[in-house]
């Protein structure tokens, strides 16, 4: 954790020479503690003090960047145990593993598919972050071929997985100018793995079955000069993995440096491939920095990518869309008005359904501070008054002649009050879920059109 002003003062020359622009070293230290000035403003600070200050300012979980040919992954830098305490910052990287025992065409094909995969979620293009090439063959030439095959078709960041430094070396030396991750070092090979990582500018994974061994290993790696470390806790099952991940996060946040690194979890390898859904869900929810799946399957990747978006959304900043009167499928003044809130997920699910129905409609989005219909209603941010206000604000009555206004089914209780607020309008109650809107629009809305 950052030092206090008093702690910083002890590291300063204490001569009160005023060259920093402050009357005393203490005054300067206080400003520094509040991060309002730079240490370099004091010309007399010692190298040792600089190092100590830098160390104390370092985040409790080191930020690790993996770089491919252009793309990069950033993980670490987390500061809390629970997302509601502040937020989780850096989305865990999702990677797909490739065995070097596959033939070259198969490797190229898989890498290409992963590289090309993208899925739209509320307007965000979600993608796979990288590939993990596994040296299953144990053969250096074969492994190098696999790395080449991947690089012919994909520029994603790479994780190279194997225990033999000679084999991994044959792969990593092909990745000049990149920053891959080697998985990695263990109690037996750490010395030569550290050298390999340093020579090639790679980050290094540390694999061990217990926290003690893990911490010892990272200290050994640091003593060799390796700083970019990723922890690979070796627990096999969900319960023990959760325990280790929780302990690592707690210790790291207490500034226990030997475990102050992001983690990687391999969730494949079970007999039932579908079980990956379960393991990956825990990894994303509970503290993994990188998650490696052993198969490419869009029906699994899509939900996992969405889970990652959800868990890593900043709870303080709900994702919002602009309150406005939106036009869907080119509505005319004879078309109905649907109402919803400006929570982006709510907006997109409603807008998508209406669009998909092919039926023209107006979509009135109120300012509910980015909350969904139910949450906003409970918080008093989505009521008859605010809807009536939006109707006025966006001049709805002037733009739409047909005065049918449709409330979300979840807030059916508002219909009475809304009728009072909007006496010229016919208030209808729509379905609770967006997915049922097309059916509702086809039946209820096309039957009764009331032009006032």
């Amino acid at each position: 954790m950052a030092l206090t002003g008093i702690q910083i003062y002890k590291l300063l020359p204490q001569t009160n020479c005023k060259e920093c622009g402050f009357p005393t070293c203490l005054a300067f230290a206080m400003k520094l503690g509040a991060k309002q000035v730079e240490l370099s403003d004091c010309p007399y600070v010692t190298e040792e003090a600089t190092a100590q200050l830098a160390e104390s300012a370092a985040p409790p979980i080191r930020l690790i960047e993996l770089v491919g040919e252009g793309h990069q992954i950033r993980v670490g830098n987390e500061t809390v145990l629970f997302r509601h305490e502040k937020t989780f910052y850096n989305r865990p990287g999702l990677l797909i593993s490739i065995q070097d025992t596959l033939d070259e065409t198969a490797i190229e094909q898989l890498a290409k598919t992963v590289d090309a995969y993208g899925v739209d979620y509320v307007g965000v293009d979600l993608r796979i972050d990288g590939l993990a090439i596994e040296a299953t063959s144990g053969d250096a030439a074969r492994f190098a071929e696999a790395v080449r095959a991947v690089r012919r078709v994909s520029d994603l960041p790479l994780v190279l997985v194997g225990e033999d430094p000679a084999v991994l070396g044959a792969g990593v030396e092909l990745l000049e100018g990149e920053k891959p991750l080697l998985i990695g070092a263990n109690a037996r090979n750490w010395d030569s793995m550290a050298e390999l990582a340093l020579q090639n500018g790679a980050a290094l994974g540390a694999t061990a079955a217990s926290l003690e061994e893990l911490a010892e290993l990272t200290e050994q790696l640091r003593s060799k000069g390796v700083e970019d470390i990723v922890l690979h806790p070796g627990a096999a099952r969900m319960g023990p993995t959760l325990a280790m991940q929780t302990q690592i996060r707690r210790l790291a946040l207490k500034n226990f440096r030997p475990l102050g690194y992001p983690t990687i979890e391999f969730v494949g390898g079970s007999d039932d491939g579908r079980q990956q859904a379960v393991l990956a869900t825990q990894a994303i929810s509970k503290y993994a920095g990188l998650v490696v799946l052993d198969a490419f399957s869009p029906e699994l990747l899509y939900p996992l990518l969405v889970l990652r978006e959800n868990i890593y959304t900043d709870p303080q900043k709900p994702i919002q869309v602009q309150p406005a009167l939106y036009e869907i499928n080119n509505p005319t003044p004879q078309d109905p008005v649907l109402v919803t809130t400006n929570f982006s997920i709510t907006y997109f699910s409603v807008a998508n359904e209406v669009e998909g129905s092919g039926i023209p409609a107006w979509l009135l989005v109120t300012d509910a501070e980015g909350m969904s219909v139910l949450t906003a209603w409970a918080a008093g941010k989505f009521d008859a008054e605010s809807i009536a206000k939006a109707v006025k604000q966006f001049d709805v009555a002037a733009r739409v002649e047909r005065h049918d206004i449709v409330l979300p089914g979840h807030v059916a209780v508002l219909s009475g009050e809304l009728e009072e607020e909007l006496p010229d309008w016919n208030v209808l109650v729509g379905p609770r879920e967006a997915v049922d809107l097309p059916a509702f629009m086809k039946t209820v809305l096309s039957e009764g059109s009331t032009v006032h």
Binding site: G239, Q247, L251, A277, L304, A434
Partner: protein
């Protein structure tokens, strides 16, 4: 290197609640289900061995559901047309308990009434020996009528009756008190609203070991982050000793996931969504497991495959080494 593991030392714990009653206990169930009792955040064995594991419920409906995905209808086949058969199929699929949702209409299209609600409940109890949760159709007046009739007709079974909401809980709580049943209360994704409803229910005199709470969660992709954090905050408050948050948590990943477009719709969606059935099942499983990580004690599912996967997850989470 010697490392001192940071352990939380909580003062509070989750209430222990038993659902269902065997013949010796005044009911007809072949087994009961006990949840709660935790003194730690979920599955942290190094602080406390979890006294009870979370349980899996499968949801069935009194009459063939009109709005369920064809994937679900296919999975259950003809069993869907009879709550007793369906409940039996759920038990075979590995459920720990059953949720019976009463609807507004009967199979033949007539309006459901208290008698049909009792019939469906009795048929369900006949088709399975598992404990049962019975939920009204979601309209205050009908909920009350149906639930009173069901509560009277099943005295002593320790059913869980619902849904209690802040606008409508008195009748249901009274019916549960008079007939040795339990209740479930639902509030919309908010810690304080959840506490308030629990205060209202306990103020009527229903003991805390007969109440579970449903904080509402949202589905994966549709607000689950709110539900997830509300659950974590409720559970932390419970461990800190706030009595009105110490109720076991019941959540509905099945209903939440299966109303999303991703689960419900097979055609006209992007290729990047992948194969429909598998995607739908994953949507339910991922939602369920995320909520289990956040502290769920009862997860209500809809698809039999999800039961297998979630059960595997629970087995692994309950294992120490």
């Amino acid at each position: 290197m010697q490392i001192e593991i940071p352990k939380d030392n909580w003062q509070g714990s989750v209430n222990t609640v038993t659902l269902g009653a065997t013949p010796e206990e005044g009911g007809t169930r072949t087994r009961t289900v006990t949840i709660g009792g935790q003194q730690t955040l979920p599955f942290l064995h190094f602080e406390q061995t979890p006294p009870n594991r979370p349980v899996i419920a499968l949801e069935i409906t009194a009459a063939r559901p009109g709005d369920w995905s064809p994937v679900l209808l296919d999975a259950w086949g003809d069993a869907i047309d009879d709550p007793g058969n369906w409940a039996g199929a759920c038990e075979s699929a590995g459920a720990d308990l059953i949720v019976l949702s009463l609807g507004l209409t009967e199979a033949d299209g007539r309006s459901a009434d208290p008698e049909s609600a009792v019939r469906a409940t009795k048929s369900t109890l006949g088709g399975t020996g598992l404990p049962l949760i019975v939920l009204g159709p979601g309209q205050a007046e009908l909920d009350n009528d149906f639930v009173i009739a069901v509560a009277d007709a099943t005295k002593g079974e320790r059913l869980v009756l619902g849904l209690c909401e802040d606008s409508n809980y008195r009748t249901i709580v009274a019916a549960a008190m008079a007939n040795d049943h339990l209740v479930v209360g639902r509030t919309p994704m908010d810690v304080n609203l959840a506490k308030q409803l629990n205060i209202l229910i306990t103020d009527m005199g229903l003991p805390l070991d007969r109440i579970v709470m449903d904080p509402t969660t949202g589905a994966l992709g549709y607000g689950i982050e709110y539900g997830y954090s509300v659950m974590e905050r409720l559970r932390i408050a419970a461990l800190q000793g706030d009595a009105m948050t110490q109720l076991p948590l019941l959540v509905n990943p099945g209903a939440e996931a299966w109303k999303t477009k991703e689960a419900k719709v097979g055609e006209g969606v992007p290729d990047s969504w992948g194969k429909w059935e598998e995607r739908a099942s994953n949507w339910e499983t991922v939602t369920a497991v995320a909520l289990i990580e956040a502290g769920a004690d009862i997860v209500v599912l809809r698809h039999p495959d999800s039961v297998t996967r979630v059960r595997n997850a629970l087995d692994e989470l309950m294992a120490v080494g």
